[in-house]
Symmetry: C2
Subunit: 200 residues, 2 copies
DNA sequence: TTGCTTACTTACTACTAAGTAAGTACGTTT
DNA sequence: AAACGTACTTACTTAGTAGTAAGTAAGCAA
């Protein structure tokens, strides 16, 4: 169209974002540099600055993309049409995938960024808050619906329970990195059996 | 005695360790430097190197001290003589204190170091594993005893449940940093009501 | 063909990081 | 008084950090 969007241009920009995301999840925001990205992509560090002038913009772009993914995902027919327990299962699957990631277990966005939170630029802090809030609200809705129709069980407010479940999931990926996947399995199984009625 | 252990020497060493610990919990291992410590303590960076030649040794010392504290704490009469629910409560209090820390909510050791885990020197990784394992084992014992005498309720293996609870606690402090203390309160309340029988 | 845009590279600045070697002031020991 | 150990400072090296300014090759547009 008007923007001819040459394939290579788009590619490099996206490849930078993909790699930065990977490095963020693997090492944290303060422990990866433009040099790491540049070396891996076989370009010069200045090329990264061309696409993302500052590290703050790069970091914000990573979170923003993840927020867009969340919004798209939760609106997908193959997600909205599931029953509450299936939606919960779909969420757990996302974390299972991360735990089994190719280059060693990754943490989730929240876990990776929350640890460095106080050192993050303000725009990144704000984006992260938005992301976390929207995810919690979505899960709270799923839990409320599930308890209403008897397919899920828990005590307390759905929002509190959602916050607790997401917190546990975020933590469980960090545990997986320190203690291996078995601990992660234990924790997920524990979550699973507590939320689903024994009868079902 | 043989080592005259001049007061100032001991003081500076300890003050370095205290401040490094504080910075680690606030900013993560990769986001504090010898300069930060030196400036705050009004000495030169080389003075820090004198006491802790490398950052790896400083980091290891922080974890090791925390491990010693744990071993001492769990053996204290005022802890061992408590009932299982009281021991659980004592553990939760440690986290509540961190959440309400003076200079903004701190995360726990595990949360702070797990995020940076892949960038940590091997000795620090090993010390952290030991610390986490001992803490989980201790809590598993408390949970098992509590379920046996009917004062605590949960499903699954005590070790799995202990891992889940500690994971949730670690995560909850990260949440507190991002979303404020109220979310933290929700999560702790949720944990509390689930573990303690409604009747009690 | 001239000019403009895109996507870089080269070469740099300014700064910070961990770590080291040599020197010094001071108190204790001999 | 001489020697020594402790606890530093001064001055440095090496290696990285984010970020910038200027140049360039390739492609498209008038």
């Amino acid at each position: 169209m008007s923007t001819s969007a040459s394939a290579t241009a788009f590619d490099t920009r996206t490849r930078i974002l993909n790699l930065a995301e990977e490095l963020l999840l693997a090492r944290g925001f303060n422990a990866f540099s433009y040099q790491h990205i540049a070396k891996e992509l076989q370009v010069k560090p200045a090329a990264i600055h061309y696409h993302y002038p500052s590290k703050e913009e790069l970091g914000t772009a990573i979170i923003r993309r993840q927020l867009m993914r969340l919004r798209k995902w939760r609106g997908l027919p193959r997600v909205t049409e599931l029953t509450p327990p299936q939606q919960l299962e779909a969420l757990l699957d996302v974390y299972r995938q991360r735990a089994a990631a190719a280059h060693g277990p990754q943490v989730c966005f929240f876990g990776a960024l929350a640890a460095d939170f106080l050192t993050l630029p303000a725009p990144m802090q704000q984006e992260l808050r938005t992301f976390s809030e929207e995810l919690t609200q979505w899960l709270a809705g799923v839990l409320a619906a599930g308890r209403a129709d008897g397919s899920l069980q828990f005590s307390g407010h759905p929002f509190s329970k959602a916050a607790q479940v997401l917190t546990t999931l975020a933590g469980s990926l960090q545990v997986a990195r320190v203690h291996g996947q078995q601990q992660f399995q234990y924790i997920l199984k524990q979550l699973h059996t507590e939320l689903l009625p024994a009868a079902a």
